[in-house]
Symmetry: C2
Subunit: 342 residues, 2 copies
DNA sequence: GCGATGTGCAGTGACGTTTCTGCATATGCG
DNA sequence: CGCATATGCAGAAACGTCACTGCACATCGC
């Protein structure tokens, strides 16, 4: 390349990177030759020299051997889409690397930093990365005292309070909760927010827990909740399939939704807009999370505002549909998405 | 590192890579020290030296500025999941790189090869990659004469024939088609397969086309199709939202599904299993495609069986539900997915 | 006309691997 | 014992880039 342009290697580098003291004529000439030859500077060499690869990892903790869990699909897909966009806009590319990947794959790729989704307590991969000095930002409050550089999470307490108030506004007298048995922060924060609210307004808590990763257990728990003598007249389900599970259970007990039972669940599924009746959902806005997480990570990589707030709590969106309103909505409550709303 | 273990750089390299002539004692010693120091060989240096990065690109042609199109979500998510798995199993990691990415991002990452999903005619990115000698395998027959090294696609003709026969078996007398106006191979192959079938069995074709990327146009076209004087008594919709669109249109015209109208559409949406009635779908099995595409790509990268068949046509799966059967199925026609079925 | 300052490049040394070559010391065989 | 062969490791070159340093030559002010 240098030979083809009749200049030195240094000049090529300077011309292409806009550095050094070169007259525009030389710069143009070098670029023109590079273009004609289809020449691309070697990414590997640049990475070796500069210590920057322009790659950031997108890691999801897996519970099986498959890269992503099925229940996370809609959330993950949207989050990954937004993260990819945000990264590209800042000149980085995303590498999908499940935490369970073979070790040789992890060490074979030079990452400038990593996003971890929902890291489990003392995740060995995260610990290892941090030890190498690689910035790690997590989606979800890090459990245990995982030494991540920053994290982004939804305001789960506020979300639950919002839903409970909405249900109460719609006329609910006794609100039930369908929750999980595991101790992750999402479940824990949401459940205590519910319990606190109950105590504050003087309602006896009515809830059922089940292992959230078991798809069948959810239907059983939904059934159990509606079979109780102190049956709730409104239910919030913490997990994605709870909407259909609760709807099915309600049908079995001859309960009409929303007349006899108000329903909300936390999910990103578009399908809940077209169920009979449409089910109100709490959206965690994965797009917003993905964007925020990547921004924080790249800031950390580039040393922008080091030492600034490393925790970011994002609001959620309650999408009110027929299932949680005693009267049909007067106006469109969930307007069509605007392009940059998430 | 070499100093810490009291050996030469060469010995470290050999010990870690299982090469050279070293007694097990030395090998173990070096590995133990490396472990203690948390030493990881530099991926960048290795890539520079060997010319292999262990990275493969996953490119999706975009029609807006967002990395993936919304309608491709379910397909893409599943395909990406499978592709990631397959790549990892062979020691590679996947980089998500939309074709519309800034040029500097593309040239900043060293790829061993790329998977392109649904490349458009004469895609400049693909042409560029091929010129650099980087293997490219496409999901979907390459349009134009895009010089990809291999491709994988569904057997669209066979799929359409299977659906038409199934509908005819269910008692359809006049089968309609909801198709697209664009000229991509999927639309073209499916439509001509339909027209050929019509000619063969002596049915007058009944179809409506619309621009597939326009979410609203689909509902209008569905309506148009059912409003025709020669209204079909069965419809196959080529695109993901056609199921709900057709169902809504049928309801407007007071047509019962499946009694008055049989319905099938091509989609990966799980939600079609729970509509009222459940809608039969054609699954393209994106998981199988993703796996195949990655295998082909890595074979090309590693020079395995160079010059072997570079085109692979995969079967589709017709998932028969209530919408396309005049009588309810006797047995479960769509069994629960087995773990490695896709 | 002569130092001081600026301009336009070329040379060079890392970055951290891998791979090839090479040199000792041990081991085998007749 | 002496020569061929094996074994155990070290040295050095190269991969392609970037960031220095350095060297010519031009320009300028006086």
């Amino acid at each position: 390349m240098a030979a083809a342009a009749g200049v030195s290697i240094t000049t090529v580098s300077d011309a292409l990177n806009g550095k050094g003291r070169l007259p525009d004529a030389t710069r143009r000439h070098v670029r023109e030759v590079a273009n004609r030859l289809g020449y691309r500077p070697s990414a590997a060499a640049r990475t070796l020299r500069t210590g920057r690869s322009g790659l950031i990892g997108l890691t999801v903790t897996t519970y099986g051997e498959e890269p992503f869990t099925f229940t996370e699909f809609a959330y993950f897909a949207e989050m990954a889409r937004a993260a990819t966009s945000a990264a590209l806009a800042r000149g980085y590319a995303l590498v999908i690397l499940p935490a369970s990947s073979r070790h040789d794959v992890w060490s074979n790729v030079a990452l400038d930093g990593t996003v971890v989704i929902d890291p489990s307590d003392h995740d060995p991969v995260v610990a290892d990365l941090v030890r190498q000095g690689i910035p790690v930002v997590s989606d979800g409050r890090p459990a245990g005292n995982l030494p991540v550089h920053a994290w982004v999470d939804n305001d789960h307490e506020q979300a639950v309070l919002g839903i409970l108030e909405h249900l109460a506004d719609s006329g609910a007298r006794r609100i039930g909760l369908l929750t999980g048995t595991s101790t992750d922060t999402y479940t824990r924060l949401s459940t205590t927010a519910y319990l606190n609210w109950c105590e504050r307004v003087g309602q006896e808590p009515v809830y059922e827990s089940y292992p959230a990763h078991d798809p069948c257990a959810g239907a059983v728990a939904a059934d159990r909740l509606l079979a109780r003598p102190d049956r709730p007249d409104a239910v919030y389900g913490l997990f994605d399939p709870n909407g259909t599970d609760l709807l099915a259970a309600a049908r079995r007990y001859g309960l009409r939704v929303p007349e006899d039972l108000l329903l909300v669940c936390c999910s990103e599924r578009a399908a809940y807009a077209t169920t009979e009746p449409p089910i109100s959902t709490l959206s965690l806005k994965p797009g917003r999370i993905g964007t925020a997480v990547v921004q924080l990570l790249i800031d950390a990589i580039e040393g922008v505002g080091a030492g600034r707030p490393v925790a970011q709590v994002m609001p959620t969106d309650l999408i009110v549909r027929a299932s949680s309103q005693r009267r049909p909505p007067r106006t469109t409550v969930s307007p069509p998405r605007s392009p940059d709303d998430d």
